[in-house]
């Protein structure tokens, strides 16, 4: 199999005496959607924060496209091509879609904002994901639905040419139709060659779109398995600790 975009080996992280990640392995491949599941407090968010540079790991190796890296701040993660779509999305409601997609990386021309160029690129990024739910790229985010906002946040990572996109519970707050749209978007994102890591508590969604499932249980990676080779019942077993790979 090709070199994974990200490969974690024996990653550990503790807060004082509490060990939250107790030696975790994980591989995420380009063009694949990998789910990260686990019960509350299993350590999913902690694992993500290490990759995004917000909260570096204590020990273990991180390979990015086969090369060992030490991600210690968010800017460095962004430079590598790691983008995180947080659960709260981090959008400015008072700004429009284009302004949000380019926030912090505005393009300039003669020291003033290059609006046409940004508008064009934002439109193309949305089109490359076949987004049809957004009417105008100059709409204020305050006028968008939850699913549309999620779409904007995901499209922003496309704009930044991300190699690994991490989504923290992207459908948690959405209704049926919007969940469907966002999941489609996630699949299109992966089929454009991006590695996608998606945290979710919704196993039905996970089985619908993910190629692989990684299960954390109390800070240990119980298994990382192809979706086609497992069942929802088995995964529930892994999550709750009633099933393990060494049986």
């Amino acid at each position: 199999m090709a070199t994974p975009v990200i490969e974690l080996t024996d990653v550990k992280k503790g807060f004082g005496p509490v060990e939250v990640l107790k030696g975790v392995n994980l591989e995420v491949h380009a063009g694949k959607v990998t789910a990260l599941v686990g019960d509350n407090g299993a350590g999913k968010s902690t694992l993500i924060k290490g990759l995004s540079g917000v909260q570096p790991y204590d020990s273990g190796t991180v390979l990015f496209e086969g090369k060992e890296v030490d991600i210690h701040d968010p800017i460095q993660a962004a430079e590598l091509g790691i983008e995180v779509v947080y659960q709260d999305l981090a959008l400015c409601e008072n700004l429009d879609i284009v302004q949000n997609m380019f926030l912090g990386r505005e393009e300039l021309m003669q020291r003033t904002l290059d609006e046409p160029s940004m508008e064009l690129q934002a439109t193309q990024a949305l089109q490359s994901l076949s987004v049809r739910t957004v009417k105008s790229v100059r709409q204020k985010v305050s006028s968008l639905s939850g699913g549309q906002r999620q779409t904007v946040a995901i499209a922003r990572s496309v704009l930044r040419n991300a190699k690994l996109v991490i989504l923290d519970e992207p459908t948690a707050a959405l209704g049926v139709a919007q969940t469907e749209q966002v999941l489609n978007l996630v699949q299109r994102l992966a089929s454009s060659g991006v590695a996608v890591l998606i945290i979710s508590h919704n196993l039905a969604d996970v089985f619908k779109v993910c190629d692989e499932i990684a299960v954390l249980y109390l800070g240990r990676m119980v298994t990382q398995i192809k979706t086609s080779e497992t069942s929802q019942n088995d995964v529930v077993g892994y999550i709750t600790g009633t099933k393990s790979t060494e049986e």
Partner: protein, 420 residues
């Protein structure tokens, strides 16, 4: 992999619009649908302006006289500048209650330096430096230390009143003998200067408007119908033309002397509005200021230096407030220890009445200017009708309460519309 940044891909976006599509009628429809969604912009203030003008013109024979017309502009200039100054902190959902007294202290420094023989431009720079330094300190406390701006600027409000007393002593009026400063509010441009001003304003508006259109079409993007821009330019030309024509008429009550021309303060205020709007709309700093006002956490995660933006906002507010203080001194010709205490509240009121949100992230400088005009007209009109200052405060307070309510309601509507 599909690359959205591919160069040479100049197709106009088909499925996703940009709000620039369609003819004049579509644009007008889009405007009304924005209003329906709570994005009212300058509409309430413009409406109030028209209604009040009609009302006072009907009630008082003096309201629409040439002299009062010019007076109104001069009276409004100081409040307009202060309201514009305050927009910068209001946009990040903060407040600076000390802006008025900070300006007064800065002008005290101007008085003291010029009285001791320092050339007035240096005195003016010193006054502005006082504004900058006060803004830096205030911004530091708010952005770095985390003291609520309401409290720390209230502390400055009190403390700086003390500083003014220490600098000037109790109760005296001190004449500012700088003709250049007195000229700002009391002298007028030559008649041709007014027409030149109109020409410059129209030329800049046209230049920017057509340049933006050119840039959009060069990128293969759709433009709004050109008629929209032409209507806007025609509007500026006609309204500006009428104003300058009236200001250029002789408005003197006596036959011996003649008073005519555009007050010098007007081009200064217009320049401040233009430069400030350019900064807010067309630069990275402006974009980041709105972002910090809309969602500071999102701004931080996007790599924006939130602390620096916040401190800069406070610096701009207090330095522009000093300019408002300069206008005040120019008008009354004196400094005194009690200056600047109440005007800051009118400044906040003006901004909010104009449509600048107290919740941050929403508002434009022209809105604040319109709001300042509304409040100045109320003041002026009620004064002409012989009402006491008490009535004027009550009416202004009521208008502010109304505006703040509109702000809160439209914010709620804007936040939760149309779940598809």
């Amino acid at each position: 992999m599909s690359n959205p940044n591919q160069p040479g891909l100049n197709l106009a976006p088909q499925e996703i619009s940009s709000g620039h599509e369609g003819g004049l009628v579509d644009q007008v429809k889009a405007y009304f649908s924005r209003i329906k969604n709570g994005d009212m912009g300058a509409l309430p203030a413009t409406g109030a302006l028209l209604v009040l003008t009609a009302l006072f013109a009907y009630l008082s024979p003096y309201f629409l006289t040439k002299l009062n017309f010019a007076n109104l502009f001069v009276q409004a200039a100081q409040l307009t500048t202060l309201a514009i100054a305050l927009v910068f902190v209001l946009l990040i959902a903060e407040i600076d209650l000390s802006a008025g007294v900070a300006a007064a202290v800065a002008m005290d420094v101007f008085y003291l330096t010029t009285t001791f023989g320092v050339p007035w431009p240096i005195g003016l720079v010193s006054a502005l430096m006082v504004g900058v330094i006060l803004g830096l300190i205030l911004g530091f406390f708010v952005a770095k230390v985390g003291v609520p701006s309401f409290v720390i600027s209230l502390a400055f409000f009190l403390g700086l009143q003390g500083v003014a007393l220490i600098l000037l002593g109790d109760g005296g009026l001190f004449r500012v003998e700088v003709p250049e400063v007195r000229a700002i509010m009391n002298d007028n441009l030559p008649l041709w200067g007014g027409w030149l001003l109109l020409f410059v304003v129209v030329a800049i508006s046209a230049g920017l408007g057509f340049y933006d259109r050119y840039r959009r079409s060069a990128s293969g993007l759709v433009n709004r119908p050109v008629s929209l821009l032409l209507i806007k330019l025609a509007f500026i030309t006609v309204v500006g033309g009428v104003v300058i024509y009236v200001l250029n008429l002789n408005r003197s009550a006596s036959d011996v002397i003649q008073i005519s021309g555009v007050p010098i303060v007007i081009p200064i205020v217009l320049f401040i509005i233009f430069a400030g709007t350019f900064l807010l709309d067309r630069t990275k700093f402006g974009r980041h200021l709105y972002a910090v006002g809309g969602n500071p956490e999102a701004a931080r995660r996007a790599g924006i230096k939130v602390v620096r933006i916040r401190i800069t906002a406070f610096v701009i507010t207090s330095s522009l407030a000093v300019v408002a203080g300069l206008f005040h001194v120019s008008r009354i010709g004196v400094v005194e220890a009690a200056s600047g205490r109440t005007i800051v509240l009118s400044g906040v009121a003006a901004a909010v009445v104009g449509g600048v949100s107290l919740f941050g992230g929403r508002g434009r400088l022209v809105h604040a200017a319109l709001g300042a005009l509304v409040i100045s007209i109320i003041d002026n009109g009620l004064g002409l009708l012989g009402f006491s200052a008490g009535i004027s405060f009550v009416v202004t307070g009521t208008v502010l309460a109304l505006a703040a309510t509109v702000d809160a309601v439209s914010r709620r509507r804007g936040g939760s519309v149309r779940r598809i």
